[in-house]
């Protein structure tokens, strides 16, 4: 179960004008590994600003924050400290529980996502060629309409 904050996301917005969002994932215990919890998150990159140097945009995929819930009977020493995060106890419930950040060691190094971007040097060439192409195509159609159209 996942909770998005905010829950309305503008999917079309480019990266530089998009709002950050927080995703709360409830992890399920892994049946094959006692004491393990698992989740898989698919990622789709937004459009980034065109680059001047031809390099792809780099997005660092940091490790997620692992939160433990001080609810039910799973009390640990950290639960006596003031709460760090208040979030729903489980996906759909309205009750808020106290959650504490657990220290953990990431299994892999920080991952870097390369997002392809357009080249800013191409701007003038692309504008000129695009507009010429549209003028050419519209002239073709205009000529055909003037030749075969009924103007009486």
């Amino acid at each position: 179960q996942a909770v998005l904050i905010p829950d309305v996301v503008d999917v079309e917005a480019p990266e530089y004008s998009a709002q950050g969002l927080v995703v709360l994932l409830s992890l399920e215990p892994d049946p094959h590994c006692p004491g393990c919890f698992g989740a898989a998150v698919p990622i789709h990159g937004r459009y980034h600003r065109p680059a001047g140097d031809g390099e792809d945009a780099l997005v660092a995929l940091k490790s997620p924050e692992v939160l433990l819930c001080c609810c039910d009977d799973r009390l640990s020493a950290e639960c006596w400290k003031p709460a760090e995060v208040e979030a729903p106890c489980s996906g759909k419930s309205d009750h808020l529980c106290q959650w504490y950040s657990a220290t953990h060691r990431p299994a892999h190094e920080e991952l870097i996502l390369r997002v392809p971007v357009g080249l800013r040097q191409h701007s003038s060439l692309v504008c000129v060629v695009t507009l010429l192409a549209t003028v050419l195509c519209s002239s073709l159609i205009l000529a055909a309409v003037c030749r075969h159209g009924v103007f009486s």
């Binding site: 191409h122 205009l142 159209g149």
Partner: protein, 312 residues
């Protein structure tokens, strides 16, 4: 036979995989197609009021039928004019033909009773629906349905030839001017096509939507359904050999395929194929224009069936 021909042309829509795929993706394009076809059929049959209701409903569901206002207006006034011409207006025949004079004559005659009635009914239906839905959903409805399209800046890859240009200039000071420049060929072609082909309403609207979609700043597969629904009506009036039409269809699909390949590599594999996508978009525009020129060149107003029926 006419019945067989009708069946074949209807099959071009009903058994066409493209509308099937688009409709099952969750877009109710078939609904808009139904409303547009009903409005055009009723307008040609002469039931102006019912046509206006269907048209108002169609514009409420999707905004693009708004472009049909000009062909429908010209078509309605032409029907009225053909009745008046029998009375005899000798002065018009002897007047020298000038472009401005012709256009002035056309657009002045547009403001006749039937056209005003159509406009009033369609406008009221649209206004009533807007008010009802505004009461149901509030400001969010107005924003999502209408205002969004005014400020929309979709820079993600799509079939449109302008996509890369808009993406690269999204934050520059030229962005507004370029957006406007992209709008001008569309506007000019739509007006000229309306004036040239308004007598055949279905063909005119088919060309209208095909041009609108091909030259639009955003173009996705779903938009093709908007003019494919009019193709079965238009097919009998296009005198083209089977081989040529199959070739044109094949070229159209090849154009899409050449775009989809680099788009897949960009979106799912992360390769930087922006230039290839842009060039494929330009090629697809050229292919669409070529197909439209072929359709216009092979168009004849009276079909063989019409001629046979007249001879009987």
């Amino acid at each position: 036979s006419p019945r067989q021909a009708c069946g074949c042309c209807a099959a071009a829509w009903l058994l066409n995989p493209l509308p099937m795929a688009v409709s099952s993706r969750g877009n109710a394009e078939a609904l808009v197609a139904l409303l547009v076809l009903a409005a055009l059929h009723l307008a040609e049959a002469g039931s102006v009021g019912k046509a206006a209701v269907c048209y108002g409903l169609a514009v409420h569901v999707k905004i693009y039928p708004l472009t049909y206002a000009l062909p429908i207006a010209l078509h309605l006034q032409s029907k009225r004019r053909s009745g008046e011409r029998a009375a005899g207006t000798g002065r018009d025949k002897t007047a020298k033909f000038t472009l401005m004079g012709y256009l002035r004559q056309l657009f002045v005659k547009v403001l006749n009773r039937e056209v005003l009635f159509f406009g009033a009914v369609a406008g009221s239906v649209l206004a009533a629906l807007t008010v009802v839905f505004y009461h149901l959903y509030g400001w969010e409805f107005l924003e999502r349905a209408y205002l969004y399209h005014l400020t929309r800046r979709d820079i993600r890859h799509n079939f449109s030839p302008y996509f890369y240009m808009l993406y690269l200039t999204a934050e520059s000071k030229w962005s507004f001017a370029l957006g406007l420049a992209a709008f001008l060929p569309q506007l000019l072609l739509l007006v000229v096509v309306s004036v040239a082909f308004y007598r055949d309403l279905a063909f005119c609207c088919f060309l209208h939507t095909a041009i609108f979609v091909s030259f639009n700043k955003v173009c996705t597969s779903q938009y093709f359904v908007w003019y494919l629904c009019l193709l079965p009506i238009v097919i009998p009036r296009i005198k083209m050999s089977w081989r040529r039409s199959v070739l044109l269809l094949f070229v159209w699909f090849v154009g899409q395929g050449l775009w989809l390949a680099p788009a897949y590599l960009l979106e799912f594999k992360g390769y930087n194929t922006f230039i290839l996508i842009w060039l494929a978009g330009l090629l697809f525009l050229f292919i669409n224009s070529f197909i439209l020129v072929q359709i216009i060149s092979h168009y004849q107003q009276e079909t063989q069936v019409d001629k046979k029926l007249k001879q009987q």
